[in-house]
């Protein structure tokens, strides 16, 4: 295991932010800490980096107890949401920083920095200052800077949170590819379930300072541990007292076994899919269908249809 966290507790004042958190991160994995804001995920990341001290519990990095080690001696790379670029240094010197601190020979530094700048596609901007870069470029520079010292683990705190949607999408795909090339154990914090599912190979859901569920994106999406995780990872609707994914509901004009009658209240077309809003016994629900299905069924508001969960669909009973 690259990172082993055991029974970590942390409070700010009287507010507990981490409660008995235990977690293993496999070497070479790309793990997402996913959860709503205030769930403790950033604090956990900072505890791993040594930027926060846990009140109790231990953190081991590559088998070494790092609980009492200062950030300087942990050899982790940390990437901040707002880049934390050294404003007074060029892109080259930013990336070289950790190597200069380690007093590596000049020629070696030059070679390594240029390699990294090529990796993050900034080799042409080596002499620029951070203020002359776009947000996406700054974050790639910050990533190269963190990678320069060959960290044992790379930690990213909402790395794409400050970027606009388009750049965020590009950087996600790029981070995934980069990880496939570099293979450094990586943990990133996000509150965006789509980002976690798309990029990570393991998702750790944190809420209220506790680890709620750990698993691959498919496991967490298909077998959520509780209604909270199910709601957080994707769209849900209520059907017969259970939580169901709206794309796991079958809709038909004729009565079906196990189906309930429903009245269509609205049909919304969203590009390739359609959202059918229905009312079942006075309760609202919605069904996600393809555009083609919607056309075939010819649904109009006021129509009576029959809905039932698809066979094998995951549903979670809600407490009444």
């Amino acid at each position: 295991m690259a990172i082993e966290i055991r029974d970590v507790n942390k409070s700010f004042g009287t507010t507990p932010v981490l409660r008995d958190v235990s977690l293993d991160v496999a070497a070479g994995s790309l793990t997402a800490l996913l959860g709503p804001s205030g769930g403790g995920k950033s604090t956990l990341l900072r505890v791993i980096a040594g930027l926060e001290r846990p009140d109790t519990g231990t953190v081991r990095i590559s088998g070494v107890d790092a609980t009492r080690l200062s950030p300087q001696r942990r050899n982790v790379g940390f990437v901040f949401q707002h880049y934390a670029a050294f404003k007074h240094l060029t892109v080259f010197r930013n990336v070289a920083f950790g190597l200069e601190i380690r007093k590596r020979p000049k020629a070696e530094i030059r070679k390594r920095v240029m390699e990294l700048l090529e990796l993050v596609h900034l080799e042409k901007l080596a002499d620029r200052y951070p203020s002359q870069l776009s947000g996406g470029q700054r974050q790639r520079m910050a990533l190269a800077r963190a990678l320069a010292v060959e960290p044992q683990v790379l930690l990213l705190d909402e790395p794409f949170g400050a970027l606009d949607a388009q750049v965020r999408k590009e950087l996600r795909a790029w981070l995934r590819r980069l990880h496939d090339e570099v293979h450094v154990t990586t943990v990133f914090v996000t509150h965006d379930q789509e980002e976690a599912i798309e990029v990570a190979d393991t998702i750790v859901v944190l809420a209220g300072g506790e680890v709620v569920q750990t698993g691959s994106p498919v496991e967490v999406y298909d077998n959520p541990a509780n209604p909270f995780v199910m709601r957080f990872l994707g769209p849900v609707t209520e059907l017969g007292g259970s939580l169901v994914r709206p794309h796991d509901i079958e809709i038909s004009q004729d009565p079906v076994e196990g189906g309930s009658p429903a009245v269509v209240s609205r049909v919304v077309r969203l590009g390739f899919e359609a959202r059918v809003e229905v009312e079942i016994d006075g309760r609202e629900a919605w069904v996600q269908v393809t555009r083609e299905q919607a056309d075939r069924l010819g649904l109009e508001p006021g129509d009576t249809v029959h809905v039932r969960p698809l066979p094998g669909a995951r549903s979670l009973a809600l407490a009444v």
Partner: protein, 270 residues
């Protein structure tokens, strides 16, 4: 058959032009014209007279003392002002808000009152047993007192705005506290430190009120340039007074330009 392209020239809008006019007029009346008059006056009786006025033993002594003491005070401010700003921004202690307010006192106090206070505390009847009256150390002390806020007040806002994540990033890259200070914090503070120092220096070379009591105004020993100028005017040597003033003006200008150039050089990189 030449095509003439008319390029639209951007003119300041009416409001902007009026604003600019008022600003220039105001600046001229309050600052530029009086300064020009002093320079003009100093050249009244030719460059020879100018040179002789500036190099009379007492004038020269006053000028070198003033510039030397001011440079020393500026350096002390550079270090101490930054340290005070650091404590005010980064440390939490009871009475911080009070201390923060007290920093401005030397600005608010009439300088002659400052002189009086210093004389009472460090004069012949000093309750501390420290007598700096009529000594050059007294002059330096008075200048330190009146210029204290400059560096503090220019560095403080920059330090407040400084991204502490930069320091955390440096720490996780292996930099120790001293390396973080030298490689990350200091380079970001230097422009503000320099501009505060320049202001402190230029204020110190013109100081009159606070030094006049504690220095005793002994010619060749503790008389500062401003007091010397005052003396020249009292003895009806207006041209001589204007000549010494012009030298002070030139020194202040050179100091401001040099530090501004240093800052531009710094900000071009940042």
């Amino acid at each position: 058959m030449t095509a003439i392209t008319v390029r639209p020239v951007r003119r300041p809008a009416g409001g902007t032009a009026a604003g600019l006019g008022v600003a220039v007029l105001y600046l001229s009346l309050i600052v530029l014209i009086p300064l020009a008059a002093v320079v003009w006056r100093s050249a009244d009786q030719g460059p020879g007279y100018f040179w002789r006025s500036v190099t009379t033993p007492d004038a020269w002594a006053a000028l070198t003392l003033t510039i030397g003491a001011s440079a020393l005070v500026a350096l002390i401010n550079l270090v101490m002002g930054t340290a005070i700003a650091w404590v005010l921004v980064r440390d939490r202690f009871p009475g911080r808000a009070v201390l923060d307010t007290i920093i401005d006192l030397p600005f608010a106090l009439p300088t002659i009152v400052a002189g009086l206070v210093l004389l009472a505390l460090y004069g012949p009847q000093s309750p501390l047993g420290i007598n700096l009256a009529y000594s050059r150390a007294g002059v330096v002390l008075a200048l330190m007192f009146v210029t204290l806020p400059f560096v503090v007040r220019t560095v403080q806002p920059v330090l407040l705005e400084l991204d502490t994540e930069m320091e955390q990033a440096a720490a996780s890259l292996g930099a120790g506290p001293f390396q973080i200070f030298r490689r990350v914090i200091l380079p970001n503070l230097i422009p503000a430190m320099l501009s505060g120092t320049a202001l402190a220096f230029t204020r110190a070379i013109a100081e009159f009120g606070s030094t006049v009591l504690i220095s005793g105004n002994l010619p060749f020993k503790t008389q500062v340039a401003a007091v010397n100028i005052f003396g020249q005017i009292e003895s009806d040597n207006t041209t001589g007074a204007a000549a010494i003033s012009t030298v002070l003006l030139a020194v202040a200008l050179v100091a401001l330009i040099t530090l501004d150039a240093l800052q531009r050089w710094g900000s071009r990189r940042g």
